[in-house]
Point group: C4
Chain length 379, copies 4
Amino acid sequence: MTDEILPALAYRPLDLPPVDLETIANVREFEAPARERIHEAAWAYLAGGAWDGHTIRANDRAFDGFRLRPRVLRDVASVSPMTTILGRAAAMPVGIAPAALHALAHPDAELATARAAAAEGTIVTVSTVASRTIEDVAAAAPDARRWFQLYVQHDWDQTRSLVERAAAAGYEAIVVTVDLPVLGYRDDLLRVRFDPGPGAYANLPLRDTWRAGRELDELIDLRNVPMTWERLDEIRSWAPLPLILKGIMTGEDARLGIDHGADGIWVSNHGGRQLDRVHAPIEVLEEVVDAVEGRAEVYMDGGIRRGTDVLVALGLGATAVFTARPLLWALACAGEPGVVHALRILKEEVARALALLGAASPAEVTRDHVSPARGIARP
Amino acid sequence: MTDEILPALAYRPLDLPPVDLETIANVREFEAPARERIHEAAWAYLAGGAWDGHTIRANDRAFDGFRLRPRVLRDVASVSPMTTILGRAAAMPVGIAPAALHALAHPDAELATARAAAAEGTIVTVSTVASRTIEDVAAAAPDARRWFQLYVQHDWDQTRSLVERAAAAGYEAIVVTVDLPVLGYRDDLLRVRFDPGPGAYANLPLRDTWRAGRELDELIDLRNVPMTWERLDEIRSWAPLPLILKGIMTGEDARLGIDHGADGIWVSNHGGRQLDRVHAPIEVLEEVVDAVEGRAEVYMDGGIRRGTDVLVALGLGATAVFTARPLLWALACAGEPGVVHALRILKEEVARALALLGAASPAEVTRDHVSPARGIARP
Amino acid sequence: MTDEILPALAYRPLDLPPVDLETIANVREFEAPARERIHEAAWAYLAGGAWDGHTIRANDRAFDGFRLRPRVLRDVASVSPMTTILGRAAAMPVGIAPAALHALAHPDAELATARAAAAEGTIVTVSTVASRTIEDVAAAAPDARRWFQLYVQHDWDQTRSLVERAAAAGYEAIVVTVDLPVLGYRDDLLRVRFDPGPGAYANLPLRDTWRAGRELDELIDLRNVPMTWERLDEIRSWAPLPLILKGIMTGEDARLGIDHGADGIWVSNHGGRQLDRVHAPIEVLEEVVDAVEGRAEVYMDGGIRRGTDVLVALGLGATAVFTARPLLWALACAGEPGVVHALRILKEEVARALALLGAASPAEVTRDHVSPARGIARP
Amino acid sequence: MTDEILPALAYRPLDLPPVDLETIANVREFEAPARERIHEAAWAYLAGGAWDGHTIRANDRAFDGFRLRPRVLRDVASVSPMTTILGRAAAMPVGIAPAALHALAHPDAELATARAAAAEGTIVTVSTVASRTIEDVAAAAPDARRWFQLYVQHDWDQTRSLVERAAAAGYEAIVVTVDLPVLGYRDDLLRVRFDPGPGAYANLPLRDTWRAGRELDELIDLRNVPMTWERLDEIRSWAPLPLILKGIMTGEDARLGIDHGADGIWVSNHGGRQLDRVHAPIEVLEEVVDAVEGRAEVYMDGGIRRGTDVLVALGLGATAVFTARPLLWALACAGEPGVVHALRILKEEVARALALLGAASPAEVTRDHVSPARGIARP
């Protein structure tokens, strides 16, 4: 079935066996075997950053700018990574960030990812440009906490239809991506013709053949169909769901978002794929949290790889964090069980790190648990 | 013709075909193929920096000291890189900085560069030490916005003649280079005898054979013919053209320049070729802008390679930026079409970065769009 | 005898001769030959850090954040590293930090280490998880200044028994490790099954076979038997010995420790083996010293390799420092004489550095002898 | 003759021809060929630093912490590196720092170095542990500005004799080294037995065979013969010469030095050969200059390799700088003409850098010409 959908970028299940999950102790270890299992052009698409990649590298490294301050002899006997997000319980403060075309990693695509999220009790954010329909993902994982990520389309009716379908299919929230008025400048995609084949984008009435790079602009380039704060108010009226703004990088925009009724502010630089030379999300998280003043929940993605990264974000005021690339790697390595394993690792790391930090739950992590790293002169 | 002019450093058109421009996605990618197409001694001359090269390296890397702060959901439907420089429209806030001897890169030399500037609607600054005469460049690209870069000569009448010729040939402004009282210390040029051959400097009545390195001092070393602020006033009286001071690196000198009637302050460290251990221009840009207090336009060169670099400079207060080496590389790779391609890349990058920054034009970029990068301790 | 105790990880005395101590000029030089003499799995256990190892690397490098300020023409004729710790003389302000299972390095295990400490007049801290019993170590080195490091056990009576045995055997102080409510996340130990064999932990009534990694949690994981500040008061009542809290990393906890009657605060991040992304001890030492306000002695471990490191710590307010890994390396290289040589090197380095700092003794080192390193921009 | 003096470390004039000085454009370029011409053990002695070498590396790199601020359109027509040191003219603000045993580099030893200093009009500081006598150096270069560097000896009469001989031989000043109460810890010298042979130290009545490393302590280790501020007053009374204190690294000691009548404060960390983990001299220069408040001249050595380094030091308040290793390299490469060439390079670099800085002489360089480098986050 996958081969029909993605002739050029088909997952190659026969080439390599699934990875032995016992050998994977942290989610970064999924990267190398995933690379062997994903088509070269698809890998370039998934892994790449915009312009010179300053931002994509910064996302990882910016955590080095912070230190955890562990407190001792606290009662952590009942330590648990359980938390509350948008008023409902989540098994941990780590959810699945949206990413395009999970079928690039595995034929089960978003069905597998959503089932893994359900199994591990966390949130999955399904992308507008998923390989499976909004409804199919819902049917595959009815009990999963599902959020729907919205790319605004040139066609306004089409945009509204996506929101209504998500609401009808039991998605909990609409995550509007606000940092993509145009695509970021991607050197490699200007040269590689990335063609996922006809029908690859299950939720969009695209023409049969569609190509990334410059042509992706045609889909969602808003230079001629402005998406502004006023339009956002209209989107909000389409469904009685919480609205989350993904892609906020300044305190000013966080405040504007709150003023326009956002229920969540998602700090993100789109995985380093849009504007280059911007801060890593972890670097501006505190600025955003301060601007929000508790009037909405704050999330972030970008560079989350270990439980210790999660705690830094919680300490700086995030309610939860999200990650995508490591889970796509896990999906490529072993399908749904791979994603389950990845989520379990993150859950165990968060629990263990919480206990070592002297906090029995994510809610007990405070600003005092984090301090800036001190600059070290290199002799 | 070129072979007659530049026997030692002749462009070698037969050795290698022009570069396929479709393969070039950013201007840095012109560097490697250019190096194959330029004579080794000429390359050393064009690429080198003074002393230990601290400054030339800093010019590139100093942009890492800044971050862009993208704003979302702004109306960027009509985003355009068009701007206004010295009261006239320019297609983008990126112009061509002066560089010596374009014939080292390609036999069409400055004729090609000026034509490319005209085609892409931006400014070309023609050097005193160009390979083609002031008049020939004007004739080749009558519609180009041409500025003339002036090296003050020992011979004061000769200096005046250069300014008058530029004014007569329709150049828009005089860019006086003020950071070359003597040549910077260039280790390699003390060893390599760089001889462009008789007549290489089309605008100067030099002796037939002329060699760079220590002997270049003889031409423009001002140790025995002081060029001071007072002399500048005299230069200003020679032509009714705007006067731009190129090579300012402090707020103090920017203020002095304004007091002496400069219409533009061009922040530059001469591409790292004069004094070493100085700041990168981007690091002192804000100091200069603050000192100028809007009484003149401020430009800069040094390390501009991508549209994101341009936005950092605009955010810090520059009206426009200039770049030379990448365009010489493009010239060496493919002549005039190469330079056109390079300018188009920069234009597209600026437009795309503007939209992602939430600004519909260069004029909408403000100081709030830039913040210092946060230091990261390396563990 | 050793072979019986540690079948899997036995020291291999026949493979390699002892290292020629004349060739060892600083304690880091023991590392490479030690690695050849220690079983691979044991080396991984001893050398490793938690999570990504940010902390274990930071421990070494954080000293680069400080500079010594040497004073000249002081009377250092009688310079000596002698100092006073907990009211008694010590030959130098460097003691032996606790580490598990010295038999992994050498069959003489803690007997050798303690004898070396006695010979060189410094303190040895014996671990709860030593290879030799509390009593055997005391018998081997009756004159050594011996401290006992306590891991609180699930079994509270068993915990009390350890403290009482130490007091009865003439240990001077109880060093309670407070940073191990659970084990740190160790990627490698999740894969390598590290089994020191039956009876390896001489002081603990463990089941015959015991394995590190996840199973070590079963021993001392306090998630179901909370160890809190209140419990600490009870421990204090068991023996009339000074109580030292090892693993404090914040001023807040140092203050709490003093309030609960601690006689010493030992700044440590457990050699980078517990929570990752925390500060190096040397970076928080001043914060702790300031919080303690002279009401207790402050010690530290983490990254001490040279006499100059020791002086930085003294300048920031430590009474003494401790180190473990270099002494285990020395133990593996040459047994007791190796440890003696290592301690002598440290002693000579401290004496020489004191004289060069202008201080005739550790007591003369003050806060003014240390300043932050100045950040250096890398061009 | 040399072979008789230095059997083990003899200069090997037959092995390699003198270096072609035309190929040397900056003084660092003497290093590699010098290494080929100096005995391995001697090279280790000359090149090495104490402990881990943090300080010796910092000396070079610390200049990266500063930037020059060039001023333009100043009258630099008559630019000259001439300056005044201790009331007398010097051809440039760069002198020769003391170093032991120039015969390790070349058989002409200090005779060549002093003659080169005379030829180029700068100061040479002759070491107590020179290869030639105080008197022979004076006779070889009677017109050189000669300073005598004093190592205080155990034998106080012997110390006085050195000072009196220097005064009698026309040395201008006594430079008392104050940072050597004991030798720094040198790992390599503890292993390598460095034996320059009988009579190597021309000014000292040493036993015939003498070995560096631990035994050098026996000569000048002051642990049992304290050298303090009071002793300094006595030294001052022995000769009517200016007294310079070499090895000051704090404002406090600079102030004490002035109070004890010093005419010059020489900031130095002994080329990184004494205490490790100390600041580079350039980093503390301003602190010292501020403490001195113009009551004495301030000099520095450490990492001076280029004219731009010199200007940074002048801007921070030094009257002059000194350097040793590059001149020893030059001496090894080509004897006296090599040192002359090295001094000429430095002189030319200083002149050229002065003009580019907008200063016509060293005296015109001010604090405003230097600013801290801005930290750059590495992405």
